[in-house]
Amino acid sequence: MRDVAIVSYSQTPYVRSERVRNEVEMLMPVIDAVVEQSGIARREIGFTCSGSTDYLAGQSFSFVMAVDAVGAWPPIKESHVEMDGAWALYEAWVKIQCGEVDSALAFSFGRSSMGETAETLALQTDPYTVAPLCPDTISMAALQARVGLDKGLFSERDMAEVAARCRRAAKDNPEAQLKGDFDVDKLLAEPYLVSPLRKHDCPPISDGAAAIVIAAGDLAKQVSKKPVWIRGIDHRLDSHQLGSRDLSLSPSTELAGKKAGVAQGPIDFAELHAPFSHQELILRRALGLADDVLVNPSGGPLAANPIMSAGLARIGEASRRIAAGKGQRAVAHATSGPCLQQNLVCVLEG
């Protein structure tokens, strides 16, 4: 395998509703910034890959216009995944591993504010037997939390503590959306939104975009003073049938973590794509993180949950923290599908 490093990362400030700019306008400053910071000329970037979904824009081929934000003239080598940007990064990493290119841009974008996202995501379930019941994301996550609570793996207080900690950490992140100091006892006094989830256990609705540039060994060292190396990256998935798996576990995260080599060294911190508070607790266990490992110092998805970018943002936020010298080895994680169905794990080192 070739050594590949993250050389730059950029994201929008995440907001409840981006009312003024469309997707292309939202992306342009992010892509301009990430390319400029990479130290690689735009024309020299070998490959571009984006991640998005038509179901946020409410329009077929919604990614096609996004190419206009990249500056694809003369024509570029480009691809798109209908997945979170973390998988766009994976495809870009594969392209570099082929030896075909030495650098790549991956980006993702989405405006959850355009529709009823929690209900739209119900369309990810089996269209014949499940989707007609319209199980919204929060209800499915509530089923998952219930299983964990009933098994005694965590308590509602543990969940509230995750939410309070993430939003406190987000105070240091200028791009985070939901931040502040929350008292756990007061949170627990709030009514249920969908039992056993309270409002604080759920992510905010966020609009935003993120972009990352990666480069192979020598080029990364040449353009960046602080390249952040991708030491392992792997992704796996579980069955879509919620009834056929133990929702309190995440075997696909565990397997991806093993393949990515999480346990091959100490972990200083983790950025986990856990949109719901209890999912952080499930992921911690699946990745075998020690109790003292700092999780989501950026605030994580509970502070800003730009669908389709929230996974790439975990990798980007982790790389920024390592580049800033606040850690040497970190794990970043991205998820897709109901109840953590598909998971990507990436090990980063300074």
Partner: protein, 385 residues
């Protein structure tokens, strides 16, 4: 660094207007099982799955790979979902190939599909967006002016498109999987069919199909050990150009010209028309055959129509194109690009049956999408490069 990779198994479903006998999982599984059987492999032998399809609104399932994972043996494995507009079937195969070429996996299953009967593609393509003109034209309405542009520039005889359609519909009779089987097809029948989007007649247009196509791509070690015929991947390439750009030539897109020129260079091909034995290219409307002949450097600019006219692209011509009947005969949109790539591989594996080109050693698979701004291509050969 790059490992050799080859297609060792191919599976297609029967393409049809409505495959009411199978669900979406049933459809993709049908193609996948045939590809595994062709490769002599089982589900457990597959390291990763790469799936592609056109817009999710064509079936009304958001990111359907999540619910199709189980039907494709994907649980516990890496699974990627590619979407690059109409070129997606080709791009999906290229991503699958790159997983093997990079040495990350040894055997990868790749599948593309569309089940158009479960929704309405015309609706899905015609959603009115704020501050945008509602097209309600579908793909035909979009591409008709580009064809007009080509006719004006090249001075091609007006019946060129009819001749392409006649050839492809006759070729489809040799392909058991083709959707449209019209044994009584004739020049007059096409010429007299209704004009849908001038100059595109009804019988010069692709159908709406349900269907799936799958391939198993393996590394050199497994390919050689299998003892089966292989289609060695000599080169792959993808290119994209922007949608809104005044300098764009939508009739003869630069992305396509660049994509094929780079592809031939990678594959060590100097004279494509002489060195490539046959091609499966993405022709959803008849006139795109002559246009792409030029875009693929098989003919000089404005002279692609001569290849059609002189019979060069016929199954017994010197540069056979769309021996399978092409997109004009089967259009399961998301799969259409992969079908081109798979049919190219079938030719060099010598398994194309009645539409086999005798002794084909090198073949081109081509797909395009969007408003002619996405291109994906590969060259496969009966021997490693």
């Amino acid at each position: 660094m790059a490992e050799h990779a080859a297609v060792v198994g191919i599976g297609q479903t029967k393409y049809d207007a409505k495959r009411l006998d199978v669900s979406q999982p049933g459809l993709v599984r049908e193609a996948a099982i045939r590809a595994l059987e062709d490769a002599g492999l089982e589900w457990k032998d597959i390291d990763a799955v790469v799936i592609g399809k056109a817009p999710d609104m064509f079936e009304g399932v958001m990111m359907p790979e999540l619910f199709l994972a189980e039907a494709l043996g994907g649980v516990g494995k890496p699974m990627l979902r590619v979407h690059t507009a109409g070129s997606v079937g080709g791009s999906t195969a290229i991503v699958a190939a790159s997983l093997v070429q990079a040495g990350i996996h040894e055997r990868v299953l790749t599948v593309s599909y569309e089940k158009q009967s479960e929704s309405n593609a015309m609706w899905a393509l015609s959603i009115k967006m704020p501050f945008a003109v509602a097209m309600v034209a579908g793909a035909g309405g979009f591409f008709a002016p580009l064809i007009r542009g080509y006719m004006q520039r090249s001075g091609a005889p007006e019946d060129t498109g009819i001749r392409v359609a006649l050839k492809d519909r006759q070729n489809a009779l040799k392909n058991q999987y083709a959707h449209l089987q019209m044994p009584d097809i004739s020049f007059d029948m096409i010429a007299n069919s209704p004009m849908l989007w001038d100059p595109i007649r009804y019988l010069e247009t692709c159908p709406s199909s349900d269907g799936a196509c799958a391939m198993v791509i393996a590394d050199a070690k497994h390919t050689k050990a299998s003892g089966r015929p292989a289609a060695w991947i000599h080169a792959t390439n993808m290119k994209t150009e922007p949608t809104l750009f005044a300098g764009r030539d939508q009739v003869m897109p630069q992305a396509g010209l660049d994509c094929s020129a780079e592809l031939y260079k990678k594959a060590g091909i100097q004279n494509p028309r002489a060195e490539i034995d046959c091609a499966e290219i993405y022709v959803p409307f008849s006139w795109f055959e002559p246009m792409w002949m030029e875009n693929l450097h098989f003919a000089p600019i404005n002279e692609g129509w001569k290849m059609t006219y002189e019979g060069a692209t016929a199954i017994d011509g010197d540069m056979p194109v769309n021996m399978s009947g092409g997109v004009l005969s089967s259009n399961a949109i998301g799969a259409s690009g992969m079908i081109r790539f798979a049919e190219a591989a079938m030719q060099v594996r010598g398994q194309a049956g009645e539409h086999q080109i005798e002794g084909a050693k090198k073949a081109l698979g081509h797909a395009y999408g969007g408003g002619s701004q996405y291109f994906s291509m590969w060259i496969v050969g009966d021997q490693p490069l």
